[in-house]
């Protein structure tokens, strides 16, 4: 695939680059960066007025296949990713069955290649069936293509199992991604425990339910030297625990979602489940601490926890409704809204450079010779209309919101898979699903 991207502001934190440059792509690789590159007759993409960045990678999505394909498929999820500006996603293993065998990992990769949109990197389970008891076969899962390990959706409850897993898997490439919620402390919670849950008579999960597991898992990371990545960090004290871990030299990173930066626990007064999510939306002191932790570098990654469900499932009563909502197609706008003054190089590092480094996958850079995974975005006002999502999950608490930043092109291996919100007509399964 050959392509010439002209006139854009190229921002690449991996080489401290922020300048107006042209970008030449040959055979799916970055061939040349320079000013006023002459055309060699290849397709040209005019990026004037836009930012050209290394491709965005969402390292925390749920694509629901196998098992829950009424909520999402690899193909629709890859389409949603491309539409949202992501050149790659890493999908969580809480499918049915769970991604705990090499054959399932290979199947995810096969379906992703068939969809031929954003790249999809499978994350394998830490324990067999995500049951928290026996270890998954880490080396064989890695060989099959797993990029990381996680029982996301639940915490590995037994600390001995987790410590043994971390020890065994220490030399296996692939970070352990921790979903931090103590089951006993969380109980039947449908939201955060605080003044709002008290006044609404709803069962809440206290911040300490997250923090106690964040602390535990960081200690296990330090003890075993297995790198851990804390998923969807949501509370101020968890941020402090991350700072402590960094100071101790513990191999740990963390991510934050758009909703934990932007939304709070005041969204349940109508008792609808749109904002029901794990971990729950917390208080203003927490969102403020998370935004500060993004600014000061304590938080490494922006990840959406894209968790599609059907409208019917999400319309149930709070207790029965599933947790989470779609995130891929709103992420760029939502992150920009959460911290409008975040320098672009930091914004891009959290969406591209850092997740690529943590997962050990290609991309995250525009250096000559790297794969040509590129996201082009612009400061452009737009309104969220969830009914038009490529994702099968049309639920988001951001429906109707106005955002100021939007991905306008997604380029995977030099191939334009999304432009101005429309997907490439040469792509596979995903388009037929629309």
């Amino acid at each position: 695939m050959n392509l010439l991207i002209t006139g854009g502001r190229v921002v690449d934190p991996s080489q401290n680059l922020d300048a107006l440059r042209d970008l030449r792509i040959e055979n799916g690789m970055i061939a040349e960066i320079g000013e006023h590159l002459p055309s060699r007759g290849e397709e040209t993409l005019d990026a004037a007025g836009s930012v050209v960045a290394p491709g965005f990678i969402d390292m925390h999505v749920h694509l629901r296949e196998p098992g829950h394909t009424h909520k999402e498929t690899i193909a629709t999820g890859a389409a949603a990713a491309a539409a949202g500006g992501f050149t790659a996603v890493a999908c969580m293993p809480n499918t049915e069955p769970a991604l705990d065998s090499p054959a399932l990992i290979a199947e995810v990769k096969r379906l992703a290649e068939k969809a031929h949109l954003a790249r999809v990197y499978p994350i394998a389970a830490i324990t067999r069936g995500r049951q928290g008891r026996e270890l998954a076969p880490y080396w064989k899962l890695r060989d099959a293509g797993a990029v990381a390990f996680s029982d996301d959706g639940t915490t590995v409850e037994n600390p001995r199992v987790l410590r043994q897993a971390a020890l065994y898997a220490r030399d296996v490439p692939g970070v352990f991604i921790s979903h931090c919620e103590d089951c006993a402390l969380k109980g039947d919670a449908v939201m955060h425990e605080g003044a709002h849950s008290a006044h609404l008579g709803l069962c809440g999960s206290p911040g300490v339910a997250e923090q106690i597991i964040v602390a535990r898992d960081l200690l296990i990371a330090g003890d075993t030297r297995k790198p851990f990545h804390i998923a969807h960090i949501s509370s101020a004290m968890s941020v402090e625990l991350m700072r402590f871990a960094r100071a101790q030299g513990i191999p740990a990173t963390c991510e934050v979602t758009p909703h934990h930066l932007l939304l709070e626990d005041d969204r349940f007064t109508a008792f609808d489940a749109q904002a029901k999510v794990n971990p729950p939306l917390r208080e203003s002191a927490d969102t403020a601490a998370l935004r500060e932790a993004v600014r000061d570098g304590t938080i490494d990654v922006f990840a959406t926890d894209h968790a599609p469900h059907t409208l019917e499932e999400k319309a149930q009563l709070l207790g029965a409704a599933p947790v989470g909502f779609s995130g891929l197609e709103t992420a760029v706008g939502a992150y920009a809204a959460a911290i409008p003054d975040l320098p672009l190089s930091r914004f891009i590092a959290l969406l591209s450079t850092n997740p690529a480094r943590i997962l050990g996958v290609p991309g995250g850079t525009l250096r000559v010779g790297s794969i040509a995974d590129i996201t082009i975005f612009a400061e452009r006002r737009w309104n969220v209309d969830a009914s038009r999502f490529y994702s099968l999950g049309k639920n988001t608490p951001f429906d109707g919101a106005t955002f100021e930043r939007r991905a306008i092109a997604t380029i995977v291996a030099g191939r334009i898979v999304m432009r101005d919100g429309g997907l490439s007509p040469t792509t596979g399964d995903a388009l037929r699903l629309r």
Binding site: E193, G194, A195, S197, A198, H199, L200, G201, L202, A270, F271, D272, E312, A315, Q316, L317, L318, G319
Partner: protein, 306 residues
């Protein structure tokens, strides 16, 4: 300011302005003094959709509905399609299509009547949702206070709510109603049953019943359920009793004019002793007696306006 002519639903007391709450109390007082008025809701079809067992609230609604002349259908939980996977919206559409104009509902989950009201084209009356709200109980408690202390005299009263505030829909609705009418509220209980988050303007938290008994006009006791021991919210009933059970000794700390209330069903020996039941200030029966006229007033108010 006159009350609004028509209200669609009564889901919690926060739906009402203070004048409307006062109107309902006055209307209830009038209903208590007059015989049945069966023309008020003539030809109005009311469905009672109770997903939780209820004695007091259910029977008092049924009597009130008879007194205002409504056509009443009771849907016991087992017979409802909601139990067969029909959505709330579908149930609401079905009932509305049959001409049902009022649904009275009780559900174990906070928020159920809100979701029903979103989908239903008629009036929804919340007869208790999870730990959230029980507005008609709070209204009958306010009616009891008005009878006891006089019209307009709820403002300035100091009222202690004692016990399991965290799980109590009665407490939550009473806090809203009492604040709206100008009373001072003191909540009393251990932190597991009364989180600090309940404190706000006009609502104080006390951790000792003895410390507040001398200063309050009203003690509202709440039921303590034995499940709270299993869920580790309480060590044992004795330990609860040490600080919070109303007994003979504590009754003597009350001001002479003070009264004691309980939404029922009460547990003798748990949140109160038998001495409370024979105390001159015990008003449980009066509370129950206000149930029917208050619910007549609510039905009439929602369907016919002021």
């Amino acid at each position: 300011m006159p009350p609004e002519p028509k209200r669609r639903s009564l889901l919690d007391l926060s739906d009402l302005r203070a004048e409307e709450t006062q109107y309902l109390l006055d209307r209830a007082q009038a209903f208590a003094a007059t015989p049945a008025q069966r023309e008020l809701l003539r030809d109005v079809c009311v469905v009672n959709l109770f997903f939780e067992p209820s004695t007091r609230t259910y029977s008092s609604f049924v009597i009130a509905q008879a007194r205002v002349g409504a056509d009443v259908v009771a849907l016991p939980p087992g017979s409802s399609s909601l139990g067969k996977g029909e959505t709330i919206a579908d149930t609401a559409i079905t009932l509305a299509a049959m001409g049902v104009r009022v649904i009275v509902t009780r559900h174990s989950e906070s928020g159920f009547p809100y979701r029903l009201a979103d989908a239903f084209a008629g009036h929804v009356i919340n007869a208790g949702d999870g730990g959230h709200a029980h507005p008609t109980q709070a209204l009958l408690d306010l009616a009891t206070l008005q009878t006891e202390f006089g019209r307009g005299k709820i403002a300035g009263l100091k009222i202690a709510l004692v016990g399991d505030i965290a799980h109590s829909r009665v407490a939550r609705s009473n806090i809203i109603g009492l604040r709206a009418l100008g009373a001072q509220v003191v909540l009393v209980g251990p932190p597991t049953l009364l989180p600090d988050a309940f404190a706000r303007e006009g609502v104080r938290i006390a951790r000792s019943l003895d410390a507040v008994l001398g200063e309050v006009d009203v003690v509202m006791l709440l039921r303590i359920q034995r499940e709270r021991i299993v869920s580790a919210a309480l060590p044992c009933l004795d330990d609860y009793a040490r600080n919070y059970r109303l007994d003979g000794k504590r009754l003597r700390m009350l001001a002479p004019h003070a009264i004691v209330m309980h939404p029922g069903p009460y547990n003798r020996g748990v949140e109160l002793t038998d001495e409370v039941l024979s105390h001159r200030g015990w008003r449980y029966a009066q509370q129950v007696s206000h149930g029917v006229p208050v619910r007549m007033a609510v039905l009439d108010f929602l369907v016919n306006g002021v």
